[in-house]
Every structure is written in C-alpha cells, then in structure tokens.
Symmetry: C2
Subunit: 474 residues, 2 copies
C-alpha cells in the first residue's frame, strides 16, 4: 500500500510516520527546504514510541521517499492526505492538483481542523475530511466527514493502521473534538487574562482531575456515574440548571491583544521553558505510551483499539534464531520496561518469558477458549538467567523448547535473543490445573494432542543451563 502525504509539518509528518510503521510506503511532498529534516525528527519520535505500544512486532517498515512534485507523490497512491496550512484557497489549489493526478480510486483526506467538506469540495475536488490529533502516530482518533462511501473505505484502512475512525453524521465547523478544545481554550484565556490562574495552574487543574477521567470514559459516561443509581436523567436534573447560572456569563470572546499574548507566552516560558521542544515531545510520548498500555491491559477506551490492532498483527514470526524451535515472542523493548540502571528491568524479562509461555500454550491448544472452558496451566517455578543487557528499542525474540511435556507437567525453556546474542534464558515449570478446584489435573484431549505435536523437542539435547539451581555450574 502507498500513501501520499502533501505537506510535511507536524501533522503531515505524523501521518507519514503512522503509515510507514504500519508497513505502507510513503511519498512525501513538501516544498519546504527543511522538510526532510523535519520528517526525520517526527519519524525518530514515532519509531521510539509507536512500536512500544504493542507486545508483537509491527510489519516491516515501509519505504519513505521525498517526491519532487505533487504529481510524483500521488502516483499510484491508495491514500492521499493533504495537510497544508489552513487557508481555503491553498487547499483548493492543492486538492485540484490531486484530483488531476491521483488514481481515481484513491482516498483523498484533508487534515483540516476548521473547514467542512462542502467548503473543500466547492470547486469540484473529491475529498473527505480525515482530521487526526497530534501526535498522529500515537493518538487513535480520526474524525471522518464527507461522502459516505469514501468515509467507509477510509474507516476500514484506518483501523488497519491502528486508528479509531469517528464518522460524523453531519458536517459542522470544527467537527467535534475541536469544538471542545475551542470552548476550553476560550475559557482558559479568560482565566489567564483575569489573573485567576496561570497557564501552569490551569494545566494542573486539568491533569490532576478531569483529564484523568476523560482519558478513559469521556464526558457522558463519567456524568452517568455521577448521577448514581438514577442514572443520566438524575444527573441532568441536578446539573442542568447550572447552565442558567452566572458561570455562563463569560461566553464572550476575549480580545486577543499583544498584552494577552505576552502574558500567556511568558507564563508558558516560566512553566516549561527549561525544557526543549524535543524533551517535551519525548515526555509526552512516553506518557502516552504508558497510559495507552495501561488502557490496553484494562481493555478500555483507546486500549481496545490497540488490542484489536495487535490481535490482527501477524503472530510472532521473527528471524528464527534457532531454526527448529517456535518463535514465541517477537517485539521491541518499550521505554516503560527500563529502570534506574538504564536497561530492561529484571521484571520484564519474566514478562517476555510469560508472553512466550502464553504463546506456547496457544500453540498446544491451551488458548483463551480452553481457559474459558475451565482448564489452564499455572506456573509453579521459574528460573531466569540474565546474560546480557537489553535496552529500549531493542528487538527481542524468544524461542521456546518444551523439555518436559507429559501428563500434568509442562516444562519450557525460553531463550531470549537480542539479534543473535542470547540475552537471557528462562526455565518454567507449569502444572495443568482445573480452574474450578484449583488443583492439578490431566490435560484435555486437545492439549494432549498439542503436546504430542512438539514431542520432537523432548529428543533434543537439554539446553545448557536447564535444571540447574542458582550458583550451580554445569
């Protein structure tokens, strides 16, 4: 698949990175002489953070080219994304050129935050609004507005690159999310202008309270809870009248004077000026990765998008380091797995080993359905040998050998590889259990057959290090 990105700023660059890391080829057109440098910076951030969301490897990265002309960029593109500055006449010009040169079947999306599809297509170009949120390579939301059939095709492709398409029922200025951002922005300007709070205090008022609520449930579900047993109707009865209170008196727009600009810029410098923009970006991205992984574990909100995308990724199938053994994990080491010693923390070696055990269980038929049926394996012992350091961004591959697998007992030997270097081994003893009685039991026929499929593993040499205690040698 190929995406053409017209305009390589923060948004266009974010789109390009999202497509590339999901295996699409990308052609970028941006006449800015700095475009290559800017794109490289966004891509570096994305490579550092996007793969860290997943416990599987993403597809092999696509190829990035910098096109000399718009026509060259859009040639053969399945998706053309326009992210040029927010001036309608410029958008019209670019979209007309796209219409004249892109394949007729390609999706043409505009990143506009302000214009409606009817405005964009007023001069005949065929396109939809596909409005993403910064950083595009991490945040799932894309607002789709416009012609239904193109929106539907776009939604399907967006899901395949891990995004969440939200298709609007009607077009409206600023779509949905930016209307909220605009409302909050207006209110924030008043608070700063009137000396009620500084920019830093406003940020704290958001991130120490309702920002945490909105990261996982949004507005209405949160308020439904506030209504208690009586639900939304009760909440509305309580809170509705507030709309007539004097709180609403500041619905006017503050004058955007040079003094107000100075006030805000000065406070923002005091708050964050000690950090460079790249520091802030990395901090934001690390936080987002950590929050998104937390939601993935909970199976909630944006975490469901991640989980669905991860499930659709090909299973672990990285470079088979030891040719006869199944590859049970193939992933990158996320930043969140490192510790004060500057390397992957000891806990996450066991996490990777545990993922390998889960995958091997799937391979022998002890999968989610089997567990839902009331049977599973419990680990009763683990022995880890840490042989080499791993760092954030390292590709980690695990191969698994079954060294005991008859009756209730299952003993696995995981080798954890950083490229061709053996970084750790983990020996795991598991017992097959009945989840009702919590006692050991014989595996069901499906799993007994699954174990038999790997019987050849038992004939292999016992791996170096297996069966040993700590401090015991050969």
């Amino acid at each position: 698949m190929k995406a053409a990105i017209i305009g390589g700023g923060v948004i266009g660059g974010g789109w390009a990175a999202r497509f590339l890391l999901n295996g699409w080829d990308v052609a970028l057109f941006d006449p800015d002489p700095e475009a290559e440098r800017k794109m490289a910076e966004v891509l570096a951030n994305a490579r550092r953070s996007l793969p860290a969301l997943y416990d599987k490897a993403l597809p092999r990265e696509g190829r990035l080219t910098h096109a000399g002309t718009l026509a060259e960029a859009v040639a053969g593109a399945d998706w053309v994304q326009e992210s040029v500055p927010e001036r309608l006449e410029l958008k019209h010009k670019v979209l007309a050129e796209v219409a004249a040169t892109a394949p007729s079947a390609s999706i043409v999306g505009s990143s506009t935050s302000g214009f409606k599809p009817s405005e964009l297509t007023a001069e005949g170009a065929n396109c939809i609004v596909a409005h993403p949120f910064n950083p595009v390579y991490l945040l799932p939301l894309v607002e789709l507005v416009g012609e239904a059939e193109m929106c539907a095709r776009a939604a399907g492709l967006l899901r395949r690159i891990g995004m969440f398409p939200l298709t609007l029922r009607k077009e409206i200025d600023a779509h949905i999310a930016d209307r909220f951002l605009e409302a909050v922005w207006r209110e924030a300007l008043w608070l700063v202008k009137d000396g009620i709070a500084t920019t830093e205090e406003i940020d704290e008022a958001i991130r120490m309270g309702f920002g945490l609520r909105w990261a996982q449930m949004g507005l209405f579900e949160t308020y439904r809870i506030a209504g208690g047993e009586a639900g939304m109707r009760h909440f509305l009865a309580q809170f509705g009248p507030a709309l007539k209170w004097p709180w609403t008196k500041l619905m006017d727009v503050p004058d955007f004077t040079p003094e107000l600009v100075d006030l805000i810029a000065g406070q923002s410098d005091a708050q964050s000026g000690h950090l460079g923009i790249r520091d802030l970006e990395r901090r934001r991205d690390d936080n987002l990765v950590s929050l998104l992984r937390a939601l993935k574990r909970e199976g909630q909100g944006a975490g469901t998008v991640l989980a669905d995308h991860e499930a659709a990724l090909a299973p672990a199938a990285g470079p088979p380091v030891t040719s006869d053994l199944p590859v049970t994990v193939d992933r990158l080491v996320p930043q969140t797995w490192t510790d004060y010693n500057g390397h992957m923390n000891e806990v996450h070696y066991l996490e990777a080993g545990s993922q390998a055990t889960d995958r091997f269980m799937e391979l022998i038929g002890a999968d989610a359905a089997y567990i839902a049926g009331g049977q599973s394996y419990f680990t009763i012992e683990n022995h880890l040998r840490y042989l080499d350091e791993l760092h954030a961004g390292d590709r980690l591959t695990v191969t698994t050998q079954m060294i005991e697998g008859r009756g209730r007992k299952l003993r696995l030997f995981h080798r954890m590889w950083r490229g061709e270097a053996l970084a750790a081994t983990m020996e795991s003893m598991l017992l097959h259990v009945d989840l009702g009685t919590r006692r050991s039991s014989e595996p069901g026929p499906v799993v007994a057959e699954g174990l038999a499929r790997y019987a050849a593993h038992l004939e292999m040499d016992l791996p170096e290090g297996a069966g040993r205690g700590i401090g015991q040698r050969g």
Copy 2:
C-alpha cells in the same frame, strides 16, 4: 487526626474514604436514613482501589463513626468538610452550626462547586472552599479558595493524604476546573441537540484523542509542543485568530427542554445502560488506578503526587512474620496485577521480589544516591517458586535473608507471605557493578559496611528451597 464529614453523598463519602484510608478517624453526619449503606458502598470501592495505587502499605485505616448530630460529628475534629446539596441557604445554616460547635482551630472546608467563599462566609461563618473531584478517593485535585492562612494549613494536610491542593489567586464562580467542564458541557449539549453526534460518539471523540493528552500535560503544555521550536508565541499566532472564526457562534446556551433531556438520557442508556452503576464505578476506578500507576512510573503529572506521598509513607514495617529478618515489602495486591487465571500473575511475584531487592539494597546503603554515584547491583539470576495463589486486595509481606554477601556477590532469599502463609520464595543472585564500565566491581565502603550489618543472616540455616534447580528436591 479526626475529620468530620457533613453530608455523606458521593462527594462526602469519597472524602470520608480518603481520610479513613490515610489513617484518620472520621465522624460522618448525614440525616439520610440510607447514609450508612451509601457510605459502606463508597468505602468498599475505595478500599478496592486507593491502596492499589501504592507499592507500600498505607497507614492503618482510621475508625468510622456515624454521628447522631452535627455537633457530635465535629467535636474534636481537625478538619470539618461540608458536602451538603448546592443551596446557599442550606450551606449557611450548616456552616453556622459548624462555627458554633467545632474546635476554633479546625479547618472548615466546603465542597461547593458553584459558590464563592465570600458567599459562603457572608453570614459570618469562617470557612474556605475545598472543592474535590469525583472519585475523591482517587483523583488528587482539590481547589482551595478563601482566607490565605486557612488555605495554607489545608494544603499541608491535603498533601499528607495524597492530594494535590491548587490554591486560587482570586475567587470566581465555579473556581477553575468546573468552568472548563461547563464550557464543554454546553458545547456537548449543542452537538447532541443538533444531531451532530450521540453521547457515545462524543465520549469517543474525547477519550480517543485529547483526553489522553490532558491526563498528562493539560492544555498549555500540549499547545506549547504544537507550536514547535518557536514555542507558545508561535502557537498563539497560528491559533489565536480561530477565536474570531464562526466556531464561536454557539456560545449561546441551549434550551434545556424535556426533549433534550430525553434525547441525552436515551442515548446514554443505549451507550451504557447494559452496565450497572457499580460496574461502571469499578471500571472507572480500575482504569484510574492503572493510569495513575502508569504516571507514577513515568514520574509525571498526577504520578508525581503519588510518588511524593508514597515516599512519605513509613517504610515497610508490616507484621514481622519471621522475626529476625527485615520486612522489605508490605503492600496490597492491586487489581492490575491479576490475570486471566483470576490470581496474581507470575510476573508480579518477581515485581514484588524486585521491590524487596531494591529495599534491601537501600538498607545496605546501595540507595538512589549510591546509584547516582555510578555503582549498582545487577541481578544475574532469579529462581521463583510459586507456592500459593494471591488475589487482588491481599496483603503481601516480603522478608529478606542475605544468604551470600561478601565481595561482588550478593545472594538474597525473599519469602513472600500472605498473612502467615508462605505464598512464594524468590532467590536472587546479584553482582555489584560499575555503571560506567558495566562490569562487576567491589562495593564501595558504605555498602561494604552495610553488608556487614547483616552478617548474622549468613549464620542462619540456608532456607528450604535455596540453591535448588527447578524440579530438584531437598
């Protein structure tokens, strides 16, 4: 310390739970005959989630009493918190009674979201606004408004119960955060009324995008990044003019008609009606615990409040199960540590063991300052034996025996206890390393002395299970 809670609804109950779980005694006064049941439900939620934020035990829970009169509740209270319904004449009546009966030195806070301190104190009562956010037992933010000296004392006490006091510079209707909530609410009503989006679509527009940004950086720092290298001033130059665009045309207040109420309540039922309010609360709380723990690991936003609070908690000192060994972990098992088998996942046994190793390192002087000086210990082997299941909410205590501790090698044997039952053991072999060369090295004198302080451990019997490989017996 004692807190008197006047009004035991969702907010008052949340305050009571926050105080109780931080070791305060609480007297609750609420004439509602259902008050005890409601309080018990809020407390059950809080007990399930608040301790899960921390990797240390909270203080012993305080004593909850249901007072028959307001005067009985406030007797001897260090803090009186008023959380009665939002009617000014009712607040005046309650605050006058508090003034007449509470100790003169006590802090008197009002949970009001709408009234200013000048309104609350108009009839002579001395109090401040202390406005929290639901769920009070999890979200750190408290807006303080009013008399400076009482606000300062209140801020100090709030930090000790893990909250984030934000003191306003001037009083204003709805303080800070609720102004934003009100602005967004108004906009959301328009979107639903005009058929642009349903309540569910609006929630997705928030939690799939900017909600994630606001959970960790708020508004201004996020936009500073959007401004790129040129910073806030550049962002303002780009975005400022949007304030004059037609986006702002909907600053009017929609009519709150029965039809609009029906529309919203119906959409909310379709979105969340299949879940009971308790399910939604638990889901919200699990998500918040998971997000807050993620931010604690990143050391950002609300995570810094947690980390500071945790650092101020007494070190692990739970019931010493084995009297001669140091208790190196004393904590509850969080919900986020459990897995598809319904018990604590194998990975988190190692996490608890790793915390015990970190604590033992502190005890022998290999603490954060020592590590910052370029020396540390790396784990080279771990052997875990899983002897019993642990579940969310279980209290987990770890004792640590040093079974080898001379020169570069440090071998620890952690026993993990659920009450008096041995749930797991973990034997860890560590090597002292120079963080510059990443090679093993002799410990510095501070740590050598620290090791010597535990020399008696080496004379004890080798623990059952130590030194053994997987599957090896006695």
